[in-house]
C-alpha cells in the first residue's frame, strides 16, 4: 500500500475536515477551469467510488471530493495522475506560517472562445501551473498563494480578491497586456487587491509571477499565521518597494501604467451566447453551490459529447460551461438540459450565487449551499419574472474566512451562531453593496444575527427595496 507513495508528494495531498462525517477532502486543481468530458467522467468514477457519489465545483475552478479515506489516497492520486490533474497541497492545517503553496490558477472560463476577450490567457495559466506544480522551491511559502490571469474584458473573475491578478487591458498605444493587482484577500481581515500601476506584456507574466512569489517566500511574514498572507507584506512594504524589488529580480524596469479603474465586473457568463468562433456557442449550466451528483455529471458529459466538442469549463461561480456547441444545437441543448433537471430558464441568480462548503470544513453552523438553494427557490417563487434579468450576486460564507467572497457580493451573508434559549442556533450577518470592478468596495453590514430560517425574507426585502428605489438607494450596485 505504501510502496509507491513517494512519487506523489509535492503534487498530491488530502485536506483535513470535520463536517458531515468526512475526515479528508480532495481538491483537484483544474488550471483555468479547463477539462474534457473524458476527464470529467473519470472524476465522476472517483466520486462514485470514494466520495459517496458527490462532487463540488469550487469558486476557484477546482473539483472537490469529500469522505476520502487516507488508505485510498495512492489509488486516487494514481488515477488523477493518469488524467493529468494534481491537487492542492492543503497546508492550512499547519499551525505555523509554513508550507503554503500556489493554489489552482484561475482564468476566464471562456478563454479561447470568448468574444469579448482581448487575449486568450489560458496558455499563460498552463505555463505557470507547469512551473509551480511539484516545484520544491515554492512549497514552503508563508501561506497559500492565489493567482488569477484573465484575458476577458468583462472582468468576470473577481481579480481584487486574489493575492496576485493579471487583468487584461489595451494600452493607449494599442498593445495588449496586463495590469497587475496585488495583495487581495478575503477572511477576517479582508482587503481588495491594489494596482501596482504597471503594464506587463504577456510574455513577461511568468517572470513577474516568479519574482513576486520569490519575494513572498523570502520576505513574507512568518512569525504568525494570521499575519502571513501576501497582503500583509504588500501593506508593510507598499507598492513602490514591491515594484522595485520585482524589477531587481527580473533585471529590467517595469513599464508604468496608471490604472484608474477596472472595467465594471460582469460577474459571470450566464446562459447561451455566441463564441468568437463563428456559428459556435457556449452554454453555461447553473450548478447552484457547485453541488454535483454522479447522475448530473454523466448527463452533462453525455450532452456535451453529443452536441458539442466534449470540452467543458468550470466557472468561478461554481457553474459548468459547455463550449463549441454549433448554433443549430443551442435550443435542443438548452431544452435537453432543462429536461434532465438543470434550471436553464430560471433567474440569473441560479448562475451568480455562490456558497461555500462550510458544512464539510466544520466551521459553519449549518449547510450554506442548501441555505442558498432555499433562498433562491424562495425569491423565484415570490418575485418571479422580476428576477429574470436582475444582475445581482448573492454569496453565502459559512464563517468569517469568507470562502464564498461574501464581502464582494451585492448581497453577502456570513453564517454565525446565536444562543437562543440556551441552544446554539444558526444565523447570518447580512452585508450589502459589495462589488468589484469600477469603484470596487467591500459590502457593509446591514443586519446582524438574522436567524437562518428568516434570512430568505430579509433578502427578499432588500431586493424589493432595491427595485423600488430605482436600484440606487441601497447602493447594492453603483
Amino acid at each position: 500500500m505504501t510502496e509507491d507513495i513517494e512519487r506523489f508528494t509535492n503534487r498530491y495531498s488530502l485536506g483535513s475536515e470535520k463536517g458531515e462525517g468526512s475526515k479528508h477532502f480532495l481538491r483537484i486543481k483544474m488550471p483555468n477551469g479547463i477539462l474534457t468530458t473524458q476527464q470529467f467522467r473519470r472524476i465522476a468514477q472517483l466520486a462514485e467510488k470514494y466520495s459517496r457519489g458527490y462532487a463540488e465545483v469550487t469558486d476557484r475552478q477546482d473539483i472537490q471530493l469529500h469522505w476520502i479515506e487516507a488508505e485510498d489516497a495512492p489509488a486516487i492520486f494514481g488515477q488523477l495522475e493518469q488524467i493529468g490533474f494534481t491537487t492542492d497541497r492543503c497546508g492550512q492545517g499547519y499551525p505555523g506560517a509554513r508550507y503554503g503553496d500556489v493554489r489552482n490558477i484561475v482564468g476566464c472560463p471562456l478563454a479561447g472562445v470568448n468574444k469579448f476577450e482581448l487575449i486568450d490567457a489560458s496558455p499563460i495559466v498552463k505555463e505557470l501551473d507547469r512551473f509551480f506544480t511539484g516545484n520544491r522551491d515554492f512549497q514552503d511559502l508563508p501561506r497559500k498563494f492565489k493567482i488569477l490571469v484573465s484575458g476577458c474584458s468583462l472582468n468576470c473573475t473577481s481579480p481584487e480578491a486574489y493575492d496576485l491578478s493579471f487583468v487584461v487591458l489595451r494600452h493607449p498605444s494599442g498593445r495588449i497586456g496586463f495590469a497587475v493587482l496585488v495583495g487581495g484577500t478575503m477572511g477576517i481581515a479582508p482587503r481588495l487587491a491594489q494596482s501596482l500601476d504597471v503594464f506587463v506584456e504577456p510574455n513577461m507574466v511568468v517572470n513577474v509571477t516568479k519574482a513576486i512569489i520569490e519575494i513572498f517566500r523570502d520576505f513574507g511574514r512568518r512569525e504568525a499565521k494570521v499575519k502571513a498572507r501576501f497582503r500583509w507584506l504588500v501593506e508593510e512594504w507598499g507598492t513602490e518597494k514591491l515594484r522595485t524589488t520585482i524589477e531587481e529580480k527580473i533585471g529590467s524596469p517595469l513599464e508604468t501604467y496608471k490604472l484608474d479603474c477596472l472595467p465594471v465586473s460582469e460577474g459571470e457568463h450566464v446562459g447561451a451566447h455566441p463564441q468568437k468562433q463563428e456559428n459556435y456557442f457556449y452554454i453555461s449550466i447553473p450548478i447552484l453551490g457547485g453541488m454535483l451528483s454522479i447522475e448530473k455529471m454523466l448527463n452533462i458529459a453525455e450532452v456535451a459529447e453529443k452536441y458539442g466538442s466534449g470540452d467543458l469549463r468550470l466557472s468561478p461561480s461554481q457553474n459548468i460551461i459547455m463550449i463549441n456547441i454549433p448554433k443549430e444545437h443551442v435550443n435542443p441543448v438548452v431544452d435537453r438540459l432543462e429536461q434532465i433537471g438543470f434550471p436553464m430558464k430560471r433567474s440569473a441568480l441560479r448562475w451568480t450565487t455562490i456558497a461555500c462548503a462550510g458544512n464539510f470544513c466544520g466551521k459553519a453552523p449549518e449547510h450554506p449551499k442548501k441555505r442558498a438553494m432555499e433562498i433562491i427557490d424562495y425569491l423565484e417563487e415570490r418575485l418571479g419574472e422580476t428576477l429574470k434579468d436582475l444582475n445581482l450576486r448573492i454569496c453565502l460564507s459559512g464563517c468569517p474566512n469568507g470562502c464564498a467572497r461574501h464581502l464582494t457580493a451585492d448581497i453577502g451573508m456570513q453564517a454565525a451562531q446565536l444562543m437562543v434559549e440556551g441552544k446554539p442556533t444558526p444565523c447570518y450577518n447580512i452585508y450589502v453593496g459589495g462589488h468589484l470592478g469600477t469603484n470596487s468596495s467591500l459590502g457593509r453590514l446591514v443586519k446582524r444575527a438574522v436567524s437562518a430560517e428568516q434570512v430568505k425574507c430579509e433578502v427578499e426585502s432588500i431586493i424589493v427595496n432595491y427595485l423600488k428605489d430605482n436600484k440606487h438607494s441601497l447602493k447594492i450596485r453603483t
Partner: protein, 78 residues
C-alpha cells in the same frame, strides 16, 4: 533513524495528509516486536490519524506530546 536508547525516530515534518500515516505504517512494519518508534510531525490532523493507523497494525500508542508550538511527538510501541 535509531537513537541511543534503542528507539527509532521518524521525522515527517513538512508532510501533509496522508503521508505521515503512510510513512509511519511503513516504518512500523520494519520494527521488531517490542521496539519503539517516535514520530516527529507538524501536521496536526496526523496526531489523530497516526494513532489509528498504528492500532490497526496491532501497535500501542504510548504517548502524544507537544514539543513546541508547531511540533508533536508520537511514541508507538510495536
Amino acid at each position: 533513524m535509531k537513537t541511543k536508547d534503542g528507539s527509532y525516530t521518524l521525522d515527517v515534518r513538512g508532510y501533509t495528509c496522508p503521508y505521515p500515516e503512510f510513512y509511519t505504517a511503513r516504518a512500523l512494519k520494519q520494527l521488531a516486536l517490542g521496539e519503539n518508534l517516535e514520530v516527529v510531525l507538524d501536521n496536526p490532523p496526523s496526531c489523530e490519524t497516526i494513532p489509528i493507523a498504528a492500532k490497526k497494525q496491532g501497535c500501542n500508542v504510548l504517548e502524544i506530546s507537544k514539543i513546541d508550538d508547531t511540533t508533536w511527538r508520537i511514541t508507538i510501541k510495536k
